[in-house]
């Protein structure tokens, strides 16, 4: 029972998720948030792994995930957005195949964790990572915009990022598959709203310090490695 309670906390289900969200808001440092998000769900998987999840229980993770997906639609702070997305995605681990849980947790936590890093980069340049506050980022900082776009696409489980294959794996239960797909739809809607707030609009009149070429290349390589690893593990690449 204690293990199950711990799993509620580490694979955050509403209202236990407030602990996770509270911790994220306390941690101001993007790197600390990044590390926390990568480690947190793995503890949850550890506690949940040996626990059989009763069938009647499935509605809770779905409702919790849907709740955060719906909230995402009107969140404009990138850090908060990444935290809510993580809550929504990590709730879905409860319905994954037990053998897939560690990898699903990893694939669902990497993109929001990267968003924390990008949130830090935006805060350093503009004072806040707030969608719609400045806009025109695509014109003023194209490399940073590209990194943001790719990470957001990874976060909403766009192929060929690993989240896509993780989501496909969650559809093995026919009865709840429509609910999972609906949550997926909300993620996409929320991500585009967020992205448009940052990217579109007129260019900033004052010059913005874009990410360096080597930094952008490193980030792209990291995403490439993640994609290749996921393709290899899912049997799509030789």
């Amino acid at each position: 029972m204690m293990k199950l309670l711990a799993a509620f906390l580490f694979l955050p289900l509403f209202p236990f998720s407030m602990v996770f969200n509270g911790l994220l808001s306390k941690l101001g440092n993007p790197t600390a948030r990044f590390m926390l998000l990568l480690a947190w769900p793995q503890f949850g998987v550890f506690f949940l792994h040996a626990q059989p999840v009763p069938e009647f229980f499935i509605a809770w993770p779905l409702l919790s995930s849907g709740f955060y997906a719906l909230r995402l639609l009107t969140v404009r702070d990138l850090g908060l957005w990444a935290g809510f997305l993580a809550c929504s995605a990590l709730s879905l681990i409860w319905i994954a195949n037990p053998s897939d849980m560690p990898m699903v947790a990893l694939w669902f936590s990497i993109p929001p964790a990267l968003l924390f890093l990008l949130s830090g980069a935006l805060e350093r340049r503009f004072g806040a990572a707030y969608s719609g506050l400045y806009g025109g980022l695509a014109g003023s900082a194209p490399k940073l915009s590209g990194m943001l776009v790719m990470t957001l696409l990874a976060a909403i489980a766009t192929p060929p990022f690993p989240g896509f294959f993780a989501m496909l794996g969650l559809l093995h239960r026919t009865g709840i598959a429509p609910a999972v797909l609906f949550i997926w739809l909300l993620w996409g809607w929320a991500a585009i709203r967020l992205m448009q707030g940052f990217l579109s609009g007129s260019k900033e009149p004052t010059p913005v310090n874009d990410v360096g070429r080597s930094g952008a290349l490193l980030f792209a390589c990291l995403l490439g490695v993640i994609v290749f690893a996921s393709l290899y593990l899912k049997g799509g690449a030789p």
Binding site: F14, P15, S17, M18, N21, G22, F67, L70, R71, L72, L73, T74, V75, G136, A138, G139, L153, T158, P159, P160, F164, L168, L171, H172, T174, A177, P178, L181, F182, W184, L185, G188, W189, I192, R193, Q196, L199, S200, G201, S202, K203, L231, K234, G235, G236, A237, P238
Partner: protein
């Protein structure tokens, strides 16, 4: 995995555009000319490879298969994929060439070509996908890439808004296809499309789902995905507004991307053999869309938006063809439509330029007689023209079908398509009647001769195309059989339609001859109908209301639970 020229062909067709995109991305600091040269060159190579692949297939009609060796990641070039690949690569090449100068003054030139190449590669991946996962990846990526292409101009809010509409509708269409794939995999344990179709043929009713046979459920989900992708009513609102994107993207979308619905229905043809009632739904939705699209097209005063609604109407016709079982005809239609609609889009700009230069004076009888000094023109007697209009297309179509098909009377789908052909031919003759000419007899005869040539040519090509796409006669007959309805319903329907068409044309001729077509004082009902049409049936308003409601709910939830 075996490597051979034949086997490598599918991968080369798909990989060349991706390679082009990668090179542009890596060397984006090059000049615009270098970027364009690279992209157009790669696009030309893709087209030639696709054409070579089609020719190879015609010489040796064996499907070509290339697998990554994993559970998925395979390519499959059968007649459908080969034909579609040539069409896609050809249209993409034209768009690439057109965009060289059109986009020269726009910011983000390299980004545009990168996205265009990625889009080409992804569409080719979709048409050549040999398994469900590859198909899903390509299907979903098309929506994402289209969003970025349509929203290329980042400073125009309208472009961003309508790009989002497109993205969201495409996401709605992605989800049923993903669910269909999940159901198929769970039931038959394979991602491979050919293996899957074999197993469905062996045991179609083995796995009931949601209280219905699996093929029926999968067919319904695939049809839903196709409806969203091809702008079928009521999921059509995004299509006419995509004109906010760059013209080359509009051309690519209307000529290629929007046709994906017809493609996916053809790809899942072995499923639809066991899902006849879904084909009836496809027919009904297609018919409503064709009518709605045509009505809305006629009421637009913006040429690009009018073309957008025209595409919607054409997509409706394409689904009608699928709904009656004429699957290969739908592919033929989408290729033909792609070519002419692409041409119209690319020519729309110069047409707008020409219109700006003209004086705008209507060239009516008074104008031609007084200003142009041309002799007075006349029309045929209306009753005679009406009889010609009703009888001639019917005879021409019937005879041409009889020449190639023989027993078309036994095929319900062929008869329904004859009705559409009849109505279209009659429309042509009616338009000819309304054109005043010095020698109306001569003009009518020339038009009828043209009609005979077009119809005979179209029928012959369509027949050959049908044999190429579905060489197995049994499959063709099974699809037609699945789309059929009971004769007790069909025969009265044919009778009612025939009477309606004949009476309708007689009434149209009478009204035109007696100048009663346009009443000076429109009735309130007419005005109400016009306002309904001018507001595009309020479809977008209804969606906006729902979206605002969901967003308001989201805001409230964030306010209530800000600390959770």
């Amino acid at each position: 995995m075996t490597f051979s020229i034949d086997g490598l062909m599918p991968s080369c067709i798909v990989l060349v555009p991706f390679l082009s995109a990668l090179l542009i991305l890596l060397f984006s600091s090059g000049t615009k000319r270098q970027v364009a040269r690279l992209s157009v060159g790669m696009s030309a190579i893709t087209f030639f490879l696709s054409a070579a692949s089609l020719i190879l297939y015609m010489l040796d009609p064996q499907p070509r298969w290339l697998s990554s060796g994993g559970a998925w990641g395979s390519l499959y070039l059968d007649p459908l994929a080969s034909v579609m690949a040539v069409a896609v690569a050809g249209i993409s090449l034209v768009v690439h060439v057109y965009a060289v100068r059109y986009m020269a003054e726009e910011p983000g030139y390299a980004r545009f070509y990168t996205l265009l190449d990625l889009m080409t590669g992804t569409i080719l991946l979709m048409v050549a996908a040999g398994d469900l996962v590859t198909l899903l990846i390509a299907w979903q990526l098309i929506g994402v890439l289209l969003y970025f292409l349509l929203g290329h101009d980042l400073e125009r809010p309208a472009a961003q808004r309508y790009a989002f509409w497109t993205f969201f509708t495409y996401r709605i269409g992605d989800l049923p296809l993903i669910l269909a794939a999940a159901l198929l995999y769970k039931a038959y344990g394979t991602f491979s499309l050919p293996v899957l179709f074999e197993r469905i043929a062996e045991s179609p009713d083995a796995y009931p789902v949601f209280g219905m046979p699996l093929p029926l459920a999968v067919g319904l989900l695939v049809a839903l995905a196709a409806f969203a992708r091809s702008a079928q009513f009521p999921l059509h609102t995004w299509l006419p507004y995509t004109m906010e994107g760059p013209t080359p993207v509009s051309a690519l979308m209307h000529a290629g991307i929007v046709n994906a619905g017809g493609f996916i229905i053809n790809r899942f043809a072995p499923v639809f053999i066991h899902a006849g009632s879904v084909l009836h739904l496809v027919f009904a939705v297609g018919l409503v869309t064709a009518v709605m699209g045509s009505i809305l097209m006629l009421t637009q005063n913006d040429i690009k938006k009018s073309l957008g609604y025209s595409t919607m109407g054409q997509m409706g016709f394409m689904f009608v063809e699928c709904g009656v079982g004429a699957f290969s005809l739908a592919i033929y239609h989408l290729i033909a439509h792609g070519l002419f609609k692409g041409t119209l889009f690319l020519g729309a700009g110069s047409m707008i330029g020409d219109a700006r230069k003209q004086d705008g004076i209507p060239h009516d009888d008074v104008y031609t007689f007084v200003v142009e000094r041309k002799p007075v023109t006349s029309r045929l007697p209306w009753m005679l023209a009406a009889v010609v209009t009703v009888v001639v297309p019917f005879l021409v179509l019937g005879l041409s079908r009889w020449l190639v098909g023989g027993n078309f009377v036994g095929q319900q789908g062929a008869i329904i398509l004859l009705f559409f052909g009849w109505a279209t031919g009659a429309q042509l003759l009616f338009a000819t009647y309304r054109l005043r000419a010095e020698n109306p007899w001569r003009m009518m005869i020339m038009i009828i001769l043209s009609l005979i040539v077009v119809v005979a040519g179209y029928t012959l090509i369509e027949h050959a195309f049908d044999l190429f796409m579905y060489p197995d006669r049994t499959i063709r007959e099974k699809i037609y059989a699945a789309a059929s309805i009971p004769l007790s319903t069909f025969d009265p329907l044919v009778a009612v339609l025939t009477v309606t068409i004949v009476v309708g044309w007689l009434a149209a001729y009478y009204a035109s001859a007696s100048d009663k077509a346009r009443s000076p004082d429109p009735s309130p009902a007419r005005l109400a109908l016009y306002s309904l049409i001018s507001r595009e049936f309020y479809a977008a308003d209804v969606y906006a209301f729902f979206a605002q409601t969901v967003l308001a709910l989201s805001r409230s939830m964030n306010v209530w639970s800000r600390w959770l």
